[in-house]
């Protein structure tokens, strides 16, 4: 990118800096508007879902023996007689203030429940994406560099497996193999039962907390519990990242400047990593962002299989209890994080890649 700019281009770039800044701000404003609209759309969807539920919220409060008058009075007090738009505005106002209602199952505010379980998901998804990037990117580069060979074919099969294997099934198979048969890893849950609650909660990330506390037994136990679910989660992001890296790399390797470099006698390793890989880094940021968001979603299944006390497990438990406030709250939070990462990586792409700005 920068090395392809001639001095003339650079002065031109400096001259254009003023209007470009204005245009950039305008574009950023547009992006912010679409982000706001998307969040509003998400709220509208959860609101509508909350409306179509066949559970009568008034009945849940007054019970089925209440008189007609009590029922109507409560209905009025709950604001269910107001126009839908008014109700929606009230709902948006409550959510913006962090009020997601009460959970029927836990008896606590959904927002505080979610704040408690979210770090567990964050921890697992973060380790998952690290695995995905550290393994997936080199795999994709390798596949492109050795295009058409058996290495490429193996990586292609791994990539396809990521699309065809159900995450929850792979989790179960992993449990049977690595926990029950081989005893390599810890079983379901975040930590061994007798160590549970031994580490003071600071960040909610168990690995970090036990590190701060200097509790090595807890750290080892937590690590052996997280390694399997995080690896399985990482496998799915790895499949996607490797596939995308491969196709980006092939696109670069087909360019004429690569041929020039090769003809010049530049070593193949330098051609691959410096000439071809550098320009695709920005595109990869977007892909990694997308797959990180996807992991937060994919953790729903994995968490259920591994009894991982994160947001996915919270959501599925709430689903089975018909605890609608909890379901909608969790949907809203996962959706918001998903949209946030999605749009964030989009924005980052525009900022980092000059080609995307025009």
């Amino acid at each position: 990118m920068t090395q392809t700019l001639t001095p003339g281009d650079q002065t031109a770039a400096l001259r254009d800096a003023g209007p470009r800044l204005a245009r950039g701000l305008l574009a950023a404003g547009g992006v912010l508007l679409t982000v706001a609209l998307t969040f509003l759309g998400l709220l509208a969807i959860t609101f509508v879902i909350g409306r179509v539920v066949p559970i009568d919220p008034v009945l849940a409060v007054v019970g089925d023996r209440a008189s007609r008058e009590t029922y109507d009075a409560v209905r009025l007090a709950m604001g269910l007689d107001d126009p839908l738009l008014v109700q929606f505005a009230r709902y948006v106002g409550a959510v913006v203030q962090g009020d997601l209602g009460q959970s029927v199952a836990t008896g606590r505010a959904v927002a505080s429940d979610l704040a408690r379980v979210f770090p567990a998901t964050l921890e697992m998804a973060t380790i998952g994406i690290l695995i995905g990037v550290v393994v997936g990117v080199p795999m994709g580069v390798l596949a492109a560099a050795r295009q058409g060979t058996w290495v490429d074919q193996v990586i292609r099969v791994v990539g396809l497996a990521g699309y065809a294997i159900p995450a929850f099934w792979l989790g179960l198979v992993g449990l049977v193999l690595f926990y029950a048969k081989l005893r390599w890893v810890g079983g379901p849950g975040r930590i061994d039962l007798f160590l549970d609650g031994m580490v003071p909660v600071r960040t909610g990330l168990l690995l970090v907390d036990s590190l701060i506390a200097g509790n090595w037994a807890a750290l080892r136990s937590a690590a052996s519990h997280i390694v399997l679910p995080a690896t399985i989660l990482g496998f799915f992001s790895l499949a996607y990242i490797a596939r995308m890296t491969r196709s980006f790399m092939l696109e670069q390797l087909g360019q004429e400047y690569i041929t020039t470099a090769r003809v010049k006698g530049v070593p193949e390793r330098v051609v691959i990593w410096r000439h071809a890989f550098r320009p695709i880094r920005v595109q990869l940021v977007t892909v990694i962002g997308l797959s990180y968001a996807g992991l937060l979603e994919g953790s729903v299944m994995i968490e259920t299989v591994f009894s991982w006390p994160g947001i996915g497990n919270y959501l599925t438990t709430a689903l089975l209890n018909a605890d609608m406030n909890a379901v909608l709250g969790a949907t809203l939070v996962i959706g918001a994080v998903f949209i946030g990462i999605n749009k964030g990586s989009d924005l980052l792409y525009r900022l980092l890649d000059p080609r995307a700005r025009t």
Partner: protein, 300 residues
Amino acid sequence: MISRAWLMDEDPATRAQARAGQAWRLARDLSRNPLAMVGLAIIVALLVVAAFAPWLAPYSPVEGMLTNRLQPPSAAHWMGTDELGRDILSRVIHGARITLYIVMLVAVISAPLGLVIGAVSGYFGGWVDRVMMGLTDIFLSMPRLILALAFVAALGPGIENAVIAIAITAWPVYARIARAETLTFRRSDFIVAVQMQGASHARVIALHVLPLCMSSTIVRVTLDMAGIILTAAGLGFLGLGAQPPLPEWGAMISKGRAFILDQWWVATMPGFAIVIVSLGFCLFGDGLRDVLDPRQRSKS
């Protein structure tokens, strides 16, 4: 009359000949891709198994012998038996019907919906386009699985509701594709010619725009099938899709979870069925894309 020369004729005399020739070329290109043929074989096998399930299955999918419960795979029960003594192979075979039913229904609902929205949006342009694509983008940037979960939670568990939930989250992709496709030819001479002959907008869209969006949509639907199967199985696994005693693959895995450590076959066998069928759609979709949509050809 139908010969290779007739099919390959550069100058087809009738519309039927042109169509037949096109189909023949497509089939020929596809048959040169071994992976696509593997995918096709899997899909055909799924169709056959689903169609002839009662004749192919050695035992009943719902009745079992409790004295025969949790038996490991053997000559009599190739995939073993489950906690109620039912033959797992027979249940997997009957489960093919449910999977096919879900996949077909989702495709039949979401693809036309997305197609029409995308084509209308691209054809009219202007504020219609902006509003409809804004809506599509909002749906596109939502997490699909979570949204489907929430919809099923609201509608109640069951196959039909699972289908509706998946379809609601699946259409935006097709809308995007159809719009992009429509934009490439909406100012073309043949569209203007039909318009000047007095055709209504509805007629232009239905007879001249939509057919041209078909091939890229079909490719995308085939590629999406694997995702739909996985989502449906996931809903079944969480107890939100097909309800027992229906032999839905995801629900079967969920049942087998309780015995996973000692009787591994109960949960793993249906999983193999899911993997094979999803892989089949992936491979065939990839091949179809290479043939129908050369612009997006995967470089391999």
